[in-house]
């Protein structure tokens, strides 16, 4: 699925890079060293001597990855053809130098900026960190489209921004749930394997949606829609707050483009499905993990931390869920009690007491309101936050797994190289000059691969480290913000409670 990215001032090279990214994402191969975004790794490569950047297919596909054969063929290469590798390399070799100089002031993110467009946007952010661009997204107005089992909900996604990469400052589009899932699928295909933590969207829910489709206009289906709307909004916030994901043209398109092609493969793939995949994959990887000798304990410790935290959050979520239900219980019981008290007040023959009892019934009615609102806050502020993070932590685990897969690939390449060397040695001995050349060629090929994969591994290590730190900071902040909000809701609730009882007190005292 090729998509031309929006035009930029220095557009040519970007297009080349982007195209490469697009096409690579179509590749089935698991070991795709995919670039995501605008070919961000070319900048990186320029710090190495070779400058070779195969990263696309397995040795089986005959693309000349070694740096030797590169320069000669490129110029006539079609921008959109497969041999994009060399193309981009060539371009970037001229452009890259510029990039290097430009990006050097901004030390930490150095390896991940390549396209000029990004520079023009991000440089201000880094060098003058106060000069932030604005981007506000809201998901609103859920609307039901269609009828019966083919019906679906459409949400309005409105964006307000000062970022130059968008066509205008304020715009909105209509999106359905499968569009969100489609976005996630694209992003995770491109970025997950590089060690980025791709935010997960809310889960599919057959039960919830069926109720909505069937047209049940009760509280549970309105609650469901609201829960989903809020979750989709949070999802988008997380996506755009991630530097690299924001640059992805798919994200831009999702926010801007009027009509999106229907995401068909999302039927089976959703946040939950992805998690299942992660869990299966990590089980498989865990069997390999034993062999990886960590030169750096950081990763092992972090992974352990992440797993523990995920467990704790799951537990906490279950408890908060129970709290929500109990509060709803309390709400119902209070309402029933209030009615009973009103009846009792009517029956009471002492006038003052009768009035006081009726007042009490009213206070209890108000309490029911309070409990209802509090239960809603319990859920939306607290429980949903926890649910989000349980999912996100699953995504973090995936990062670690990707790193191990990358390491594994490097190791495999090394052993293959070793085998090739052995073959060469044997051939030397057997003195078969014709096969020898082939053997030598293969060795060169594999040497390049080994170097590449090693670099990939180092890169993914750095990415994972950075991502985890970023994630932790974001999580800590998120939790803090939400817990404060939750406590404030409790506070408001208590203050209103005081008002109600203070109003009641004189009534009670007036009984005689």
């Amino acid at each position: 699925m090729e998509r031309k990215p929006p035009p930029f001032p220095d557009s040519e090279e970007q297009e080349a890079h982007s195209e490469k990214a697009e096409e690579e994402s179509g590749d089935d191969d698991d070991d795709d060293d995919d670039d995501g975004g605008e070919d961000i790794f070319t900048g990186n490569d320029l710090f190495s001597e070779e400058g070779s950047y195969p990263g696309v297919q397995e040795p089986s596909v005959d693309n000349q990855h070694a740096s030797n054969g590169l320069r000669s063929d490129d110029d006539e290469q079609d921008l959109f053809a497969e041999a994009r590798v060399e193309l981009s390399l060539d371009r970037s070799s001229t452009k890259g130098i510029r990039e290097v100089t430009r990006s050097s002031p901004s030390a930490p993110d150095i390896s991940y900026k390549s396209s000029t467009s990004k520079m023009s946007f991000e440089k201000p952010e880094e060098e003058e960190s106060n000069d932030k661009f604005e981007l506000n997204i809201a998901v609103t107005h859920p609307e039901k489209v269609g009828d019966g089992m083919n019906a679906y909900m459409v949400y309005k996604v409105s964006t307000q921004t000062t970022l130059p990469m968008f066509k205008s400052r304020a715009f909105s589009v209509r999106r359905r749930f499968s569009d969100f899932l489609g976005l996630f699928e694209k992003l995770s295909e491109k970025h997950a394997q590089n060690g980025y933590i791709v935010p997960l969207p809310p889960e599919k829910s057959v039960v919830g949606m069926t109720k909505v489709k069937v047209g049940k206009e009760d509280t549970s289906s309105t609650e469901f829609v609201e829960k989903r709307r809020a979750a989709l909004e949070r999802y988008l916030h997380r996506v755009v707050s991630h530097q690299n994901l924001l640059q992805d043209p798919d994200v831009r398109e999702f926010l801007e483009k009027d009509e999106l092609p229907r995401a068909v493969s999302t039927q089976t793939l959703s946040g939950a499905g992805f998690l299942k995949m992660i869990n299966k994959a990590s089980d498989a990887v865990n069997k390999m993990t034993i062999k990886m000798n960590e030169s750096d304990n950081w990763f092992e410790e972090k992974l352990q931390e992440v797993e523990n935290e995920e467990q704790q959050l799951r537990k906490l979520h279950a408890v908060v869920d129970a709290l929500v239900n109990h509060r709803k219980d309390l709400c119902g019981n209070t309402a029933v009690f209030a009615k009973s008290m009103a009846m009792l007040g009517n029956s009471e023959d002492n006038t003052a007491l009768s009035r006081a009892l009726s007042q009490l019934a009213e206070v209890e009615d108000k309490m029911e309101q309070l409990h209802q609102e509090q239960a809603s806050n319990d859920f939306f502020i607290f429980a949903e936050l926890l649910a989000d993070y349980v999912r996100l932590l699953g995504g973090v685990r995936n990062c670690f797994d990707q790193r191990i897969k990358t390491w594994q690939r490097w190791q495999d390449a090394q052993s293959t190289l070793q085998k090739k060397r052995e073959v060469e040695a044997k051939l030397l001995w057997a003195n078969k000059p014709d096969k020898l050349q082939q053997a030598k060629d293969e060795i060169t090929e594999w040497e390049a691969k080994v170097t590449q994969y090693e670099r990939d591994f180092e890169r993914i290590c750095a990415t994972v480290r950075k991502e985890v730190l970023r994630f932790e900071k974001e999580k800590s902040n998120d939790f803090k913000v939400h817990i404060i909000k939750y406590l404030e809701s409790l506070l408001v609730s208590q203050q209103r409670l005081i008002k109600y009882w203070e109003a009641f007190l004189p009534e009670a005292k007036a009984i005689s």
Binding site: V336, L344, L491, I498
Partner: protein
Amino acid sequence: MIIFVCVVFQLRSVSVDLNNDVSLLIDIPDALCERDKVKFTVHTKTTLSVFQKPEFSVPRQHEDFIWLHDTLVETEEYAGLIIPPAPPKPDFESPREKMHKLGEGEATMTKEEYTKMKQELEAEYLAVFKKTVQVHEVFLQRLSSHPVLSKDRNFQIFLEYDQDLSVRRKNAKEMFGGFFKNMVKSADEVLISGVKEVDDFFEQEKTFLLDYSTKIKDSTTKAERMTRAHKNVADDYIHVAAILNSISAEENTALKNFTFLQKVEGRVASDQELKLTELLRYYTRDIQAAKDLLYRRARALADYENSNKALDKARLKSKDVAQAEDNQRQCMQKFEKLSESGKKELTSFKGRRVVAFRKNLVEMAELEIKHAKNSVSLLQGCIETLKNC
């Protein structure tokens, strides 16, 4: 297996001020509970000469209270009085069940969580305990403050007899066989409403009591459910706090306040229980006692009417007239006595009820405000700390 043994403690009567008359002051200063049995220490201070000593204490069990109540009810002389309702049997079922569940779930909880839950349960046990002591105490104090009932011989024996009452209890059961109580209780409603009422006062009272009785029973049940739900919410806070504490360090200090929040919430739930639910429970029983009075009077009225009819018949037949006249006179006297004392009792009952409601509602409102203010300052502290860290 957790066995709860509760020990000595001080208790102050929470309900209406009954212990006013210096000539006879009764209280239950402490109680002991082992497994199923609760042993109350009934303490009496008196200036009356009918007692052997000016101050004394005896141990009593719940069954002794029931015995006392039943003997009073069975006493014909007191038919025109509202006999204070018997205290309900001490019910530790709920906390015991919870304790059991806690013991089973111990493995899945953190040590801290377990300790907190255990503390909460102990508080609950204590609350049930306090309630049952209170309710037994109030029973005795109602008797001691009643002009007629306080002079009852069995009451005095109950207070003074320093031996085990269980022998007496058995004898009493054999003697009376609880015949009054065995009468079909449900018949009383029919009887009360069926009998033609001659007196306006009683007519009104009848209507009021029958209606009020149903309503208050209903309110009690609903209040019980509400307080139970409230307790559940409070308990959930314990679990939340426990897990939060083990998660993150920075938010940790501020969130220790979450445990306090739980304590406050728990306090609110139990105060609501004491002031509101207990109040309703007690008066449901008291209303029943008042209805019993009406029932007895209605029976007396029925007897009176029957004796009139019998007298007429006897006069017609000119047979056993004197006997019939005697009978009729007795019935009439009984009925009039019941009506007179009944009126007094019911009027004072009204007053008592209104006073009790007022006291408890005021106290409940004040406690709710106090706890809410406490919560507010805790929450504000929490939020401040979080914002600054």
